[in-house]
């Protein structure tokens, strides 16, 4: 029996904070301070520019010698502003870290390969794998690594493809046919191959995989760009709000005759606290981590866009075989003929199937056992097994002078009639009713008694699929089963599996039409495929997952490749896509909601002395200090520290993605809004208050 698990057990995943990755990310955080890198992220660029300005002001103030306590405040603000930038860089580096580590392993395989290239005149030369060009011919023998992608032109060999797929069971590669394609970086285990290289250096599957894993080819996805625009817009709005505070306060100070206009340090602090640094700092990390999560599921997404599109999918086209059903028919019921007991039928069916190694045959043996028939000793009875042939369309056993046969109903009816025994109407009716229920009837007879009954073979729906489809429906995703079966059978399985719709007697053209019909209706379609005739549909679908075992054409047409070749994984990919978008939305909401508390920390600190009755007293706006923070310095410092720490605190969330449970959009929204919206509004109040307490306790800022 096949594994009933829908999800293949995930490969051992590395912990989120692998010390090696953390160490490398720490270094990268500093390297990413390069202006060219910062310019890609408008929010963090503003923070970095602010830090730069405060640094210059600080140097100037140190040189001109201002008083000690002010200097301590300014040093701390400057440091924390730089730390904010570094934290954001660190988040991105962490997200890239895992991919980079994996890329390193892949690269190692590529570097070491040496190829034996054939020259004109039958000579050969040794060259590095990276020097091979299209149409070069190479010879690879057992134990050697295949140097580049190519097509086998001579030879048959077993190849270990685990370097690419992680699957260690060897596969056969041979010239001609569907199994002629080989991938660079895989190893020949036995025999030899002559291979014509089909790609130029740098274009191999391994190269593409490395650049994808590494994130070098990463481009911002459409939704990420839109969000970037929003964040840049908000940043400009806050830049306006904060910078115009200067003229307003100059006017106010002039008019009040007391207080001081805020200095550059407080203004930049306010700006950095208000602009959406949380999401700005984590945005690219979320995207990279999303791609990485897809990779952890052993799916290679050709672009971030594809992962994002997966979240938007409205319609899933799922192949019946292997995805919805186990792929083999299973015996589920014995229907005995009149006057035959069910045990007799089970006994005959089992006997005839004992040497039948097909899954169907084995399932009959298993079902018979459930009717109380144990394994029996057969050798004493000297049975003669008759194998299935295309001519007879039945198989069976000759035992104790009797001939037991099972097979397609017409074949068995012929066999019975040849023995001058009748086929009753009742049996014919059983056969029809099984066929109508979507099953396959298998008749059983012997030479002496004639027809004993019918075995009901049925496509078995994988465990848990029905619930899975129910969840998908709750998420607003329609599932359509694709099958080559006739409509009757298809309808029966569709209703049992709980899919929303089915396409029976599916041809590549019908599949293509279905995709186009869905897309014209404004729906996004995801599908899996492996054959060359799937290629057009894979290319047309918004998310096309090609099986790694599939043909080259299919792999090139899809925008994702499943290295495990497990079609059920499409559902996981959809969930990862959704999780990616949700994480972005949640952190954006959180980031904006945070601002309210920061106003109540910084504004009273900035304008605490404005309109005061006497110098040194608090002015009326100190009443806005509803958190009861100690002093203007401690308030501003605490807000800036909180702002920086939030980025670090949310790195795990950004990398893992927010928890996702399949439910309706409305339920999801209420839940996330409560956590990230309301939470984002409330959390900073106690957070800033606590930091204020600590800052004052450590004498980093004055207590009054």
């Amino acid at each position: 029996m096949q594994d009933l698990d829908i999800i293949p057990p995930k490969k051992k995943t590395k912990p989120l904070f692998d010390p090696l990755i953390v160490k490398r990310a720490g270094t990268d955080a500093f390297l990413k301070l390069h202006p060219r890198h910062l310019a890609k992220n408008p929010v963090m660029f503003v923070v970095a520019a602010g830090s730069f300005i405060t640094t210059i002001m600080l140097v100037r103030n140190i040189c001109s010698g201002i008083n000690h306590s002010e200097l301590i405040f300014e040093i701390q603000i400057t440091l924390w502003l730089w730390v904010t930038v570094l934290f954001a860089n660190f988040a991105e580096a962490m997200a890239e870290g895992r991919g980079k580590a994996q890329a390193d392993t892949l690269k190692r395989g590529r570097k070491e390969a040496i190829a034996l290239r054939e020259l004109a005149g039958g000579k050969t030369e040794s060259v590095a794998a990276t020097e091979l060009k299209k149409n070069d011919i190479v010879f690879v023998k057992a134990g050697e690594v295949i140097p580049s992608d190519g097509e086998v032109i001579e030879g048959v060999a077993t190849v270990n493809e685990s370097a690419i797929t992680g699957e260690s069971a060897p596969v056969i590669r041979e010239s001609g046919g569907d199994r002629s394609a080989v991938t660079g970086g895989t190893t020949v285990l036995s025999d030899w191959l002559r291979i014509r290289i089909t790609v130029d250096p740098g274009q191999t599957f391994l190269d593409r995989m490395i650049s994808l894993v590494e994130g070098a080819a990463r481009q911002k996805t459409p939704n990420e760009i839109a969000l970037d625009i929003l964040l840049a817009g908000l940043t400009i709005v806050f830049l306006l709000a904060v910078s115009t505070l200067l003229p307003y306060s100059i006017y106010s100070v002039h008019s009040a005759g007391t207080g001081m206009a805020p200095d550059v340090f407080s203004l930049i602090s306010l700006l950095v606290c208000l602009i959406p640094t949380t999401i700005g700092g984590l945005l690219s990390a979320i995207g990279i981590a999303g791609m990485d999560r897809v990779l952890q599921h052993n799916v290679l997404a050709m672009s971030g866009k594809a992962v994002e599109a997966a979240g938007d999918v409205d319609t899933l086209l799922l192949d019946k075989t292997g995805t919805i059903t186990l792929g083999n028919r299973q015996a589920v019921e014995f229907v005995p003929a009149a006057g035959v007991s069910i045990e007799e039928l089970a006994d005959a069916a089992q006997l005839s199937s004992l040497s039948d190694e097909t899954p169907e045959g084995r399932s009959i043996v298993v079902l018979a056992k459930q009717h109380g028939l144990r394994e029996r000793e057969l050798s004493s009875k000297e049975p003669e097994f008759i194998p299935f042939t295309a001519q007879t369309r039945m198989s069976g056993v000759n035992i104790n002078g009797n001939e037991i046969r099972k097979g397609a109903s017409e074949a068995i009816f012929k066999f019975v009639k040849a023995n001058n025994l009748p086929v009753t109407v009742e049996i014919e009716r059983s056969v029809t009713s099984i066929a109508q229920a979507g099953g396959t009837p298998l008749a059983v007879a012997d030479r002496k008694r004639g027809i004993l009954g019918v075995v009901h073979l049925k496509d078995v729906v994988k465990g848990g699929m029905k619930e899975r489809f129910l969840q998908l429906r709750a998420m607003g995703i329609r599932t359509i089963m694709i099958t080559g079966d006739n409509p009757l059978t298809a309808a029966a399985i569709a209703s049992e599996a709980g899919v929303d719709d089915f396409l029976a007697e599916a041809t590549p053209e019908a599949k293509m039409q279905l995709i186009q019909k869905e897309q014209t209706g404004g729906r996004l379609v995801a599908m899996t495929g492996d054959g060359t005739n799937d290629a057009p549909a894979l290319a047309a679908a918004d998310v096309g997952v090609a099986m790694n075992t599939g043909t080259q054409a299919a792999k090139e047409a899809g925008n994702m490749i499943d290295l495990d070749s497990n079609p059920t994984k499409l559902i996981e990919v959809v969930e990862i896509g959704k999780q990616l978008l949700m994480t972005r939305g949640a952190l954006t909401t959180f980031s904006i909601a945070n601002d309210v508390a920061k106003y109540f920390a910084i504004l009273p600190a900035m304008f605490g002395t404005l309109y005061a009755l006497a110098p040194g007293q608090h002015g009326p706006l100190w009443q806005l200090n509803i958190m009861g923070l100690h002093s203007p310095e401690s308030a501003i410092l605490s807000a800036v520290i909180f702002n920086a720490l939030v980025i670090v605190a949310l790195i795990p969330l950004a990398l893992r993605g927010i928890k996702y449970r399949p439910m309706s959009a409305e339920a999801l929204l209420s839940r996330n809004l409560l956590i990230y919206g309301l939470g984002g509004l409330i959390v900073p109040f106690p957070g800033i208050w606590l930091i204020d307490q600590i800052v004052v306790l450590m004498r980093l800022a004055p207590a009054t």
Partner: protein
């Protein structure tokens, strides 16, 4: 606050809610050129006017053509009004002989910068007035120069909203409709019939409608008084219905000739919200899901109630410094004439003044029946904040709806991601282009209000300079301290928001303020309309995405609350720092017995 006060406020709200559906459905029929009860009567007029000027009403315009038509129309009509104002001395219907050698001694000169400011003000539906109508403008200037704009700028606002509605409603379409046909239909079938009845009603209530010279009267005390006259009723109706707000007379709707009775006051209030509320229904009907329209309307109502509650509350509390002088101001004893009655008409009282101030700034009307400058700090904060939020609470005719839709798009984009899909609003995906246009819309307003106010706070021009005879630009304010800042902030907010009401207390008839405020009005109108039309064009081209249970539902109470939160957070976060230094600190200082 009093029960009778709240009763009037609630009655007002109920009537608005009841009118939304029938009028909204009618507007939909008009703009989709379906048959309605006026089509048989007025259709010949419509078709003949197209024939007269050679317009093909069925020509479907792209967003670029639509914008070009609107901008060209506005530019030509701007110049037209400027010319009329500058030439009014030579033109007829000028009984008081303004802008001539025989102008009365109390007349204000219509300088080029004032004429430019005024022309811009009326072209942009702002109706900011740096002049007093009765001592500056001839009747022709009022009617042809200004009232004309009251009609077409209102219609322009409505057609932009309609274009955006079509952007949402149409599927994979290039066009947004025909600008000229939309303008004609709006004026002819929506504004004209209502104003016709409305003007007659105002005449019946006592509003003058004549071309007489001003009446000179001697008061009982023996002093001389000049009583202005003019075609007031016809201008008053469109002033309110088109959320224009520019008074024929300086005192606007607090003047008995513009707003003579409590009944006329109530009707004027209703006429401000009438069309903006109805347009939400038009939106719902056009996209085939009226729930969406009701949701927007409910968000508007909640924000309206919050505003009127706060404003009424603080006005009813009055100024504690008055009570300290042992003056009875409690509304418990004085009813709706207690509290802060400074700058308010006794015949309207607190509730109707607070309601008027809220309504006129929720919408981009700007008509006033009391002086906003004299409101308590937090009572006056409401009109200011209403304008700064973008006047999306009902809002200007058309402008309110498209502003609210921009916020709906932003809400869906920010929060909608949390359901794990590319955000959609009423079946249209919200992507890069939409977000970009929405942010341009938000940025244009924020830039104008914040930067221009900042400039006016610190621009130290030399004494007697040509730009500003008062010298430093902050010298033009009559009040010091936070109240002075509020006055400048209010002026630029009002101009940018195309509201037109004033906090007063700021002498704005100088080249500096006239020009800068005109610029703010220009940016606040056209730099916001063009992104809206661009968004409409982009939306119209998109496919319709059918809603599933995975779609972010935008017709629920949750969405209403979310929309309000985004409006408040995005809007308030932008202006909160400025407001802190204005009304908020003034409130604290008032409680410390320090007044400005």
């Amino acid at each position: 606050m009093t029960a009778i006060g709240w009763f009037q406020i609630l009655l007002f709200a109920v009537i608005i809610a009841l009118c939304a559906k029938p009028l909204g459905a009618y507007i939909y029929a008009v703009l989709e050129s379906k048959n309605h009860f006026l089509s048989r009567l007025l259709r010949p007029l419509e078709t003949n006017s197209y024939r007269l000027v050679g317009i093909d009403p069925d020509h479907d315009m792209t967003w670029i053509e639509y914008s070009q038509s609107l901008l060209a129309f506005s530019l030509v009509s701007l110049l037209f009004t400027y010319a009329i104002l500058r030439l009014q001395g030579l033109l007829p219907f000028n009984p008081m002989q303004f802008s001539t050698a025989n102008a009365p001694s109390w007349a204000t000169a219509l300088t080029p910068d004032l004429a430019f400011n005024t022309a811009m003000s009326f072209t942009t539906n702002t109706n900011w007035q740096a002049y007093s109508g009765e001592n500056t403008l001839s009747y022709l200037s009022q009617m042809l120069g200004l009232a004309f704009h009251n009609w077409v700028s209102a219609a322009a606002g409505i057609v932009v909203a309609v274009a955006l509605i079509r952007g949402f409603a149409r599927r994979t379409a290039q066009g947004l409709g025909n600008f000229w046909a939309d303008m004609t239909r709006t004026c002819l079938y929506i504004l004209l019939p209502i104003c016709f009845v409305y003007s007659l009603f105002l005449v019946y209530q006592g509003v003058p409608q004549n071309f007489n010279a001003y009446t000179e009267a001697t008061t009982i005390e023996g002093s001389k008084q000049i009583i202005p006259q003019g075609p007031i009723a016809s201008q008053e109706s469109i002033k309110m219905l088109g959320t224009n707000g520019g008074g024929f007379l300086n005192a606007n709707s607090s003047h008995p000739f513009e707003n003579p009775t409590p009944l006329s006051n109530f009707i004027q209030l209703l006429s401000i919200f009438l069309i903006p509320a109805a347009l939400t229904y038009t939106f719902g009907k056009a996209i085939g899901d009226t729930r969406q329209g009701w949701t927007l309307l409910s968000a508007m109502f909640l924000l309206f109630f919050a505003g009127v509650f706060i404003c009424y509350h603080f006005e009813a509390q009055g100024n504690p410094n008055v009570a300290r002088q042992n003056v009875e101001i409690s509304t418990k004893t004085l009813g709706d004439t207690g509290g802060n009655m400074e700058g308010k008409e006794v015949r309207f009282g607190l509730a109707n003044s607070a309601l008027f101030a809220t309504v006129t700034t929720d919408a981009s009307c700007g008509a006033v029946n009391a002086m906003h400058d004299s409101y308590t700090p937090l009572g006056g904060l409401i009109p200011l904040l209403n304008i700064q939020l973008g006047e999306i609470v009902f809002g200007g005719v058309g402008a309110g709806l498209y502003g609210m839709l921009i916020y709906a798009v932003l809400t869906v984009f920010i929060a909608g991601l949390m359901v794990g899909r590319t955000p959609e609003y009423v079946g249209k995906k919200i992507e890069k282009k939409e977000v970009k246009m929405a942010m341009l819309f938000v940025l244009a307003a924020a830039f104008c209000i914040l930067v221009f106010t900042g400039l006016a706070c610190i621009l130290n021009l030399p004494e007697k300079s040509l730009l500003n005879p008062q010298g430093a630009t902050w010298n033009n304010i009559n009040n010091s301290g936070p109240h002075g800042l509020s006055e400048i902030l209010y002026a630029f907010s009002s101009a940018t928001g195309n509201n037109g009401s004033a906090f007063a207390g700021l002498s704005v008839n100088t080249p500096f303020y006239n020009t800068l405020l005109a610029l703010a009005m220009f940016i606040g109108r056209f730099l916001m309309i063009v992104p809206v039309l661009a968004m409409a064009g982009s939306l119209a081209q998109k496919k319709y995405v059918p809603a599933t249970s995975g779609t972010f539902p935008t017709y629920t109470w949750l969405f209403t609350l979310l929309l309000i939160s985004i409006i408040l957070i995005v809007g308030a976060l932008t202006f909160f720092p400025a407001l802190t230094l204005g009304p908020i600190v003034e409130h604290f200082l008032m409680n410390e017995h320090r007044l400005f």
